[in-house]
């Protein structure tokens, strides 16, 4: 089912793309037609695949680390109002700083290996996860909190057994965003300094005016992002269903 729907979407997407190319007369070196891109993808299949593998690994590690860090921060902010008040503006600050400015610092600390790309993916995911989850934790039904209080609840179990499950839908929302942003994070990391990965391949293709190869890598990246989002969504749906006390159906 999902495969079929995805296929239909793909067809629609390709049609829109092709029609845009026709109607606006965008030249192929700015926006190549789907056919040209497909040809470039086939010609460079093994090249793209080897670079894609590296990016995929960076994305997954970044997603895991960023989510973990985001959850931890959101929890800390919920638990200490002072921490929230002092730390949150700093967090906004780091987000409002364009990554390119931080990139040299990151590469200085993490080197040109995978470390700096994962760091970049983490940096990008971290904020939406933290922000969404914190909003969720802050919105716990006050009646349930009153109940916990009368039951003599301690802070940690109140967090783990009440606030956290109740905020799962918000976390799910944050994760859905993170799944989409993680690939971008890794690619930006690769632009900043890399010798492998889809981002590197894109830059290379762009520099050599091979727009079709660039778009081919880009499509692979975007498809990967969609697959990742589908996978994360199925976890997110389960989390929402759990919080509502329904058996998840898909």
């Amino acid at each position: 089912m999902i495969a079929l729907r995805l296929f239909i979407t793909l067809c629609i997407g390709l049609t829109i793309w092709q029609v845009t190319v026709w109607l606006t007369g965008v030249p192929p070196f700015i926006l190549p037609s789907p056919l040209r891109v497909a040809a470039a993808a086939l010609d460079n299949a093994s090249l793209i695949a080897s670079h894609a593998g590296i990016t995929a690994l960076e994305v997954l590690l970044g997603l895991l680390a960023g989510t973990a860090l985001g959850i931890a921060t959101a929890v800390a902010m919920t638990y200490s109002k002072r921490f929230h008040e002092l730390f949150f503006p700093l967090l906004v600050f780091t987000q409002a700083v364009p990554v390119f400015a931080l990139a040299p610092i990151l590469t200085l600390w993490f080197g040109y290996g995978m470390g700096s790309k994962i760091a970049m993916a983490v940096l990008i995911i971290y904020f939406p996860v933290t922000s969404a989850f914190r909003d969720g934790l802050a919105e716990t039904d006050p009646a349930l909190l009153d109940l916990a209080q009368t039951l003599g609840a301690k802070p940690l179990p109140t967090l783990l057994r009440l606030r956290l499950p109740a905020a799962l839908p918000s976390l799910a929302s944050g994760l859905r965003l993170a799944a989409v942003y993680a690939p971008i994070g890794a690619v930006i990391g690769e632009w900043v300094g890399a010798s492998r990965g889809l981002g590197y391949l894109m830059l290379l293709a762009n520099g050599r005016a091979k727009t079709d190869l660039m778009f081919a890598s880009l499509i692979v990246l975007a498809l990967g992002a969609i697959l990742l989002r589908i996978a994360v969504n199925s976890i997110a749906v389960r989390m929402e269903a759990y919080a509502r006390g329904i058996a998840a159906s898909g």
């Binding site: 965008v26 030249p27 192929p28 070196f29 700015i30 390119f100 990139a103 040299p104 590469t107 200085l108 080197g111 040109y112 690769e190 632009w191 900043v192 300094g193 890399a194 010798s195 590197y200 830059l203 290379l204 762009n206 520099g207 050599r208 005016a209 091979k210 727009t211």
Partner: protein, 293 residues
Amino acid sequence: ADEMTVLLDWFVNPDHGPIIIAQEKGYFADAGLEVEVIAPADPSDPPKLVAAGKADLAISYQPQLHLQIHEGLPLKRVGTLVATPLNCLLVLKDGPIKSPADLAGKKIGFSVAGVEEAMLTAILENHGVAFDEIELVNVNWSLSPSLMSGQVDAVIGAFRNFELNQMNIEGVDGKCFYVEEEGLPPYDELIYVAKSDEIDADKITRFLRATELATQFIVNHPEESWEIFASTSPELQDELNERAWADTIPRFALRPAAFSAGRYSAFEAFLVDAGLAPTENPVDVIAVDVTKP
């Protein structure tokens, strides 16, 4: 006056001296031109936009032009801004790299992807180092910072008129291996490109004539021209730009419209040799002398 849109390769800097001076001194106006100058952040965009008919002229790099033509972009060189390579293989002056031969097993950073690989291959070959003995790392915009902080051992794509001054100001001196001295065919670093099938020879000739006047003025009045250039924008008034200005003056093409067919075909041959181009394009596909009647 005829309107004209010119896309720079990057933000305004001393490399663009002749255009800015021509604008400020009114040479464009005298030539009956009203020139709008636009600066992008990604140097690979302007040629594309010119090829798409979004501007009359773009400043680009000769090596890139060869590749772009092979990729089917309808572009042609119509003029020259900087007639020698600016590119250099930059290392730390007091570092362990005394010759490109010492680069075996080292990391080399680059920024604008394109022909770096071919250039490096040629330079390293001259020193008996194979290309796969080094690691090429894209460092995006931080060429000299990544070198100064020791993250890479050398960078290619640095401009000799800027990065050397910049490093000197930061207190870490650099050393340039000039690419044309290391076995690369000489080429024009900065050129004007136009859409190949819509070249308005008359307008472009007038434009180039104006920049020629400006170049002469710069060469004749280096101090005064710096004052004029710096006065156009407060961002430009600093030591680095002032020093770069002085270093750039001898690099400006004194005859912007002139071109040497031999140079272009030699570079084309070099790219074919390096495997970056499939077949040699004839020179008249790559460049044109717009003043030719």
